[in-house]
Symmetry: C2
Subunit: 219 residues, 2 copies
């Protein structure tokens, strides 16, 4: 259950075969740039410096390559959130760590993470079911934290299910605009979103905690 910050580390640790790793990286680049439907097996093979026939040795269909990418990315995020949840602390502290990771970790591998969110619908029904199971685990980790904070009175919101979806959607939405050439690092954006989320759910301390980036930006 080790977790990885970069896509290179993730693929290197999850995948033994260098050929398959090259295909995974080529798939991420092709799907990210052109979309799943517009990417041909020929493109992917070319990017990986393999013949199209060699692709089929490892992935019977383009969907299988997409599925492997999405699964590795989603499992890595889940395992990271589980690690953070195990560290304990108050609901506000835990939620802050979870939101920061939910923003920063995908941003560090933003091409693969964008593909995972955008091209999910192109998976087969059986594959989608497996990914939905991982997404449900992500939602449960965040939801448990929200429920605990609501019970203890630390958070102030009414509807757990809508609020949980709002928090998750907000974290995921950063992928729609994140660029490594932007002015903030993944962790700085994560910190900013922590503050937005704490405000959103009425956490008592939301406006006492200005993360460092914000203090600097105000100078």
């Amino acid at each position: 259950m080790a977790t990885y910050v970069t896509l290179t580390e993730l693929f290197q640790n999850r995948e033994e075969s260098p050929t398959v790793r090259r295909l995974l990286f080529a798939g991420v680049e092709a799907f990210w740039r052109d979309g799943f439907h517009a990417s041909s097996t020929r493109d992917i093979a070319k990017r990986a410096q393999l013949s199209p026939a060699a692709v089929y040795v490892h992935f019977a269909a383009k969907e299988d390559l997409l599925f492997t990418i999405i699964r590795y990315v989603a499992e890595n995020l889940r395992d990271r959130l589980l690690e953070l949840a195990a560290q304990g602390g108050s609901p506000t502290e835990l939620l802050s760590r979870l939101v920061n990771a939910y923003v920063a970790l995908p941003a560090h591998m933003y091409k693969a993470a964008l593909v995972a969110n955008r091209d999910f619908d192109s998976l087969t029904p059986v594959q989608r079911k497996q990914i939905v199971k991982i997404r449900d685990e992500l939602a449960q980790i965040v939801g448990n934290c929200l429920a605990t904070g609501k019970e203890s009175g630390e958070f102030n919101f009414e509807d757990l299910s809508i609020t949980r979806m709002a928090v998750l959607s907000l974290c995921r939405s950063t992928l729609l605009w994140y660029s490594p050439r932007g002015k903030y690092s993944p962790e700085e954006i994560g910190d900013y979103y922590v503050r937005l989320v704490l405000g959103m759910i009425g956490a008592a301390s939301a406006f006492d905690q200005a993360p460092p980036m914000l203090r600097c930006a105000a100078l």
Copy 2:
């Protein structure tokens, strides 16, 4: 610049030809159910009770049908936000109206609005540019309100550009789960999101204003 709450009203008022209206409704259903790529002109023609050849009389390519749907939906939302912005009031009052409309109006035509968000990438570059222009107008209306509230000290956030994206993404994300069979109406969800957003941006009154739905749900 009249605005419409239902898709039926919108298409009836924007499109004179009953045949084109049938094609627009058929396109929404097909794209919503099967996705743009998996929908064939034959499917759409069948749903509209026309021959595939008759489709091409009105729309030279499937992209043109998608573009017309997205344009009508996006312009309708923009015109509604412009109407609301013209009503004046404090930044908190105006933002509350804008967020409610940005959630509720697309939810009332959720199939078309989901297609507009999800299948945007399938438009041609020239078409995308036109839709991006409308989206920029939407972002500007919300952004102007945020900037005014920040200047007056009514809102408390640091980075206008990130905060604006967060507000817009949060409003749009309701389309990923909204169902007319859910327990809340579009307006009730809109009210809930108003509270989430006011909390997120540190509006002073965020937790004084429990919308009616929340008071009821707490009974």
